[in-house]
Structure formats: C-alpha cells, structure tokens
Amino acid sequence: MSDKVLMLGNEAFARGAYEAGCKVSAAYPGTPSTEISEAIVKYDGIYSEWSPNEKVALEVAIGASISGVRALASMKHVGLNVAADPLFTASYTGVNGGLVVIVADDPGLYSSQNEQDTRAIARAAKIPVLEPADSQEAKEFVKFAFELSEKYDTPVIVRSTTRLSHSQGLVELNERLDIEDKPYVRDIAKYVMMPGNAKQRHLVVESRELALIKDSCDFPINKVEYKDSKIGVITSGIPYQYVKEALPEASVLKLGIVNPLPRKLIEEFASRVETLYIIEELDPVIEEQVKSWGINAIGKDILTVQGEYSANMLRRAIKGENISLLPAAELPNRPPILCPGCPHRSVYSVLKKLKIHGAGDIGCYTLGAVAPLGVVDTTICMGASISSLHGMEKAKGKEYIKNWVAVIGDSTFLHTGINSLINMVYNKSTGTVLILDNSTTGMTGHQDHAATGKTLKGEDTYAVDLEALCKAVGVPNVYVVDAFDINLLEKTVKEAVASDELAVIIAKAPCALLDKSPVTKQYTVNQENCKKCGQCMKPGCPAITKTENSEIVINDTMCNGCGLCESLCKFNAICSIKVR
C-alpha cells in the first residue's frame, strides 16, 4: 500500500483526474474550485489551461472528448451558468473520451454572489452527478466519473462544496491508468445538434436516464450502513460527516450518485427504517423527489436551505439536544477589505471624491461597495458592470450616466466584459468603462489570464494588449493611467464622463500581493505637521489608524509603501522611510 498524503479536496480532484488518465483540463479560476487546476498543472501527461471563461473551458474539454481522450473542465457553481449552453447540449451529444465537469458549490457564500445548487442545473440538463464526502472520495469519484461517462455516453458532473474543496484529508495514491486514446469516428447524427439529429439524441438521453436510475442502485459509490432502525438518514457529500458525528447510532444511506437518484435503493432503505431524515445542504433536491414517490421523510421542515450544516445543528434539530454553550461575544465585525497598497483603493478614492457611482463587477474590487469607500452600487455577475451601465444609459439617457462608470477587473473584462464593451460600441453608448488592470486574477489568489503573458504552466505567451483590444473594437477614447497617479486619474475620469463619446480608462498597477519581495519603502506620519484632518484615512487603508489620543499612525507591519496617503496629505505630514 502506498503512503497516505494530506490533500485538499481540490488537490484530490486533480489527483483523481491524473490517475484516471485524463489528458486535457480547462478551467477559469473561481473560489472554491481554483486549486483543482493549480494542482493538475503539476502532473505530467495532462495538458491544462486557464481559459478566459467557463463556457470556453467546457467547450475545450468537449472538443478533447470528441477527439477521443479523457477531458476535464472545472469551475465554481456560478461558472456553470456561463457554461450552461455547451453543458445542456453536450448532454445530448454524449462523449467519446470520458468528459467530467467538477463544479464547486458555495453553501454559506464564503466567496460568491449567490448560493445556487448545481444539482438543480444537472437535473435540468439530465446529467449524472456524483458527490464525494472527503478528499479520498474526491479522488476516487473522479475516476469513477470517467468510467461512467464512457459507459453511459454522457458528461458527468462531480459536485463539490467549499467545505470539501478547502478541507484537507488523507488520500491513498495510486498509479496513473494507461488509457488509450480512442479513435475519432465521424458521426454527424451524434455530434451535429441540428433539430432532426437532436430529436433523436433526446430519446437517447431519456433512455440513458432510465438506465442510470436502475443501474445506479448497484454503484459501489453508494453506501448503506444499517444500524438502529428507529432513525434512518439519506445523505451525501459533506453532510454525511455531520451525520456520523451527531447520529452515530442511525442507519445511513450515503448516496454517491445524487442525480439521477437510485430509486429502488432508496425505497428499500426507507422501508427498513421508522423515521426517515433527508439531510442535504442547500435545496431539497433529494427530498422533493423522494417525497414525490410517496415516501414519508423529514428534511427542510426542520433544516435550512441556507448555509452550511454542522453536527451541532443536527443534534439540535433531530435529537432535540439542548447544547449549552458559552454565548458568542458581541463584537465589531471584521469584513474582508482591500489590502494595504491595493491599487483599487487609489482609483476608488478618486471616484469617491468625484461622487461617481460604480456599476460593479466580480473581483476584489467589489469591496469598493462598503464603507468607507462606498463607490460600487451594483454587482450581479461577471461582465455585468459594462452591460448594465449600457442599459442605464438606454433607459435614462446619456446625461443620466454622467456620474456613473463601469468598474471591472482585467481578468473579468476578458471573461465576459469584452462582449459587453462591443455592445456599447455597436449600440452607440457614451458611457465610461474603468478597467482596473492589476495584471492578475486577484481575488482567487493570482492566476494568470490572457493579458498577463503567462500560461497556467508558467510558459511565456502572447499577452493580449487591453488598450489595443479596446481600440480595435471601436472605442473612440482609450486612456491608460497609472492607478496611483490620482491627479491624472481625476482629470481623465472627469473628461471621460463629461464627453458624449464612449471611453475606456485602463487604470494600471499590479496587485499589491503580486510582488512577494520584502517591502523597501514605507510611510510614517510626522506628528508635528499632522493637522489630524483625516484625509489620509478616507480611502480606508487598514494600515492607517487613530490612536486613543487621536494621533494618526501607520502600522509598520501592514504598510505596503503605495504612497496613496502621501498623495492625499496637504500638509506634508506623511513621509516615506526606507526599510531594510
């Protein structure tokens, strides 16, 4: 037996793909799925890439599958929305080489804009879903998913959640399977989804569903643990772990496949227990189906559709245990904030001064919505900043948006923002788009993208020139400004929003966390000059605080030396010091 190693769920997913003989992997970074690709890139024998968005990533994987190799796409739950178009039709075409999609949901919204349940999308697309409960299963289920994909001629989704993706557990490693490439055979009835062919494929999908409902009862990834017959629990994924902690005496049916449901297996289990509970995070996907078969069960009547579960939650809800605990202290919150030295703060300080509203987007810069910055008014999904600004202009006229801009990051712009910008050009918008170009995909932990000049593997590649791109699609006014040059930025924003022509301002400065070398310059407050006016504190740099006797001080363990505070001080009270 090989040694066991400690792996994040996401690292185990990657290992599973490697061991399964997967040859192509594509993804767009998104918490909590990002580390899957970051782990895959370390294995030889798999081509892996960051694609500009999830739709592209899935289509890359579909192409690889059609050509005859095992292929993987991975994404977060909302990424699956972007990839929904190819997903729904790949369900009809089926596969050649195995095609697996790992999708990570985010119950509790650690880093997402909604709490949607991937199983509901998979049901609509009629695609099987497997749900592992720990790192070992994460690896094994991916391997099983590839087998299933080829056997049943279907894409297979492996569903994760934040808690699984970002927990580490022990994993036993195996060798990589030697999977031979399949030959490609032209088959337009299967791969060209025009109406006549798709009608026939729909029949194939329906009979595949029926076969899976029957066959899945015998899949080894389902586990039945009969103990006390008083309480029976149907569960899957991470909630299984809470069930084992809270209800060690209960009989448990742990489903490895959660779509379609293995009906016979469930019916038999239900018939052997007195009270049946269905314990699943997020939507009652299993529960509603089981109840529709006439089986009595308790689920969302006593458990929530929101957030993560826990063993204590089950002890209270199911056993009625009164767990006496020390109360949590009532304390000031500590919400996430832009880092010290973040270039977004500099840009936002200018927008705030000019009282400009931001149609926002998805990234660290979404944090510009909260105090003390308060410049981002909307955040919907990737790319929506630009298109929603366009919608506002068309609704209320060009004068109305003269105190609005769209703010979007460089990676998000290439993800889906570019389409929206083309629409602004095409449909004659006059608005202003600010691309906050920090040379990376920041929020997810610094992944490269098409404009950074590096691939996922770290190889040099062509770097898309954002300025040239915007000009090429027809934006008449494109400015490139240093994000920390607040005077020039202010002048440029004023000019752009006042103008009756479409403008893009690319505010450039690398993410403060990109440069890992030690800080060589920091700032300090000269208390003699300081008038305590508080201008330097307005943008909310966490390194600047007021002491109890109202002195403004800069914390030397946090200051990143960006100099924004110095630019804001009118009394020369903030000066730079060399460190190291």
Binding site: T34, H166, G169, Y242, P335, L338
Partner: protein, 191 residues
C-alpha cells in the same frame, strides 16, 4: 484517543494557512487520521479567518464546533474573543497580543473592546505574547506565527524534534532557519 480539536484564528494575511499545514504535517507523521479546514478567496482579504485542525483515530467532520476546541491559537486579540466560545471548558488560548482594527473601528462605526484580556482570562487559561516584537528582533515580523505556534506546541504531545522536522519540510527553503528559531523562542516560553 479522543479527537483533538485545534483552531487557528486571525486576520486574513497573517499566515493561518501555513500554521495549520504545519500542524497537519505533524499529525500525519505521528500516524493519526487528520482533517483540516481552510479559508480561501474573498474572506481571506483582511477578514476574520478561522482554520480548523482535527486529529485522532478517526475524524469525520472537518470543522470544530462551538464548545469543542482544545486549543485556540489566536493571532489577534479581537479574533481570540470572537471565537473563544468554541473552546471547551478546560480549553487553552495561545494569544498573540496584537491589535488590528477592523474597518468598522477604523471608520469610527464601532469601538475596539478594551477588556479583551480580562474577558478571556475569566473563562479560560490564556498564554500570551507580543510575538510581533519578538519576531522583529529576529529580523522578520512575518515569522511571529511560528513563535505563537511554538507556545502552543507546549500544550500538545509532540516532541520539539518532531515539530522542527515538519517546519523544515513545510516552510519555503530560504526561511527554514528563521522559522525554526522563531518556533524555539515560543517553545521556550510556552509554560
């Protein structure tokens, strides 16, 4: 052995992930089943972060729940108080005596509590140190987390050699020496 529950809490960017990974490496080296739960993504950006480490014969859930923690390693005072109710009655707090104002305090919308230490001491055993100052003496304030971990190590059943061995395997090669020295300072002060 009953499962041991350890929590590492602090402010995003303080190095809770590295610390928990050292703990994880240590426990598997000793042959335990272990699960770690981490925080990535938006919450990491200067927010309140908590990492769980559980080890024992067989570990199911990867999180530590209220009233279950044996040791709370806190890199910041307010965060120590925020998670103190996760401790068992006889649980221990290892505290880096540092204050980092959260944004509501910075902008004057909330007050940083002044009685944190008294509050923590009234319910729990607490060991504290200004690890930032100690780390600065070593020449790099960032290794403060190893000093705190060294203090916590005194309350766990692993030998100093086992700890140093895992630190060597886990931290970036260039920083092995300073991290080990930082750990030893904490270890010497742990009781």
């Amino acid at each position: 052995m009953e499962t041991k529950n350890i929590m590492i809490v602090g402010v995003g960017g303080q190095g809770t992930l590295l610390t928990s990974r050292i703990l994880g490496g240590l426990t598997i080296q000793a042959g335990y089943d272990v699960k770690l739960s981490e925080v990535h993504g938006m919450a990491q950006r200067g927010g309140s972060v908590v990492t769980f480490v559980r080890y024992g014969k067989k570990v199911y859930e990867p999180i530590v729940e209220e009233g279950q923690a044996d040791i709370l390693i806190a890199f910041e005072k307010l965060e120590a108080l925020r998670y103190a109710h996760f401790l068992k009655k006889d649980g221990v707090i290892i505290l880096n005596d540092q204050r980092i104002d959260p944004m509501p305090v910075v902008i004057g919308a909330a007050k940083y509590p002044s009685d944190i230490i008294e509050n923590l001491s009234s319910n729990h055993r607490i060991y504290r140190i200004n690890a930032i100052d100690e780390a600065k003496k070593l020449g790099n304030s960032k290794v403060f987390n190893m000093i705190v971990l060294g203090m916590a190590a005194k309350h766990m059943n692993f030998s100093k050699e086992e700890w140093l061995n895992v630190i060597e395997k886990t931290v970036p090669p260039k920083t092995i020496d300073i991290n080990k020295r930082a750990f030893e300072i904490g270890y010497g002060l742990g009781e």
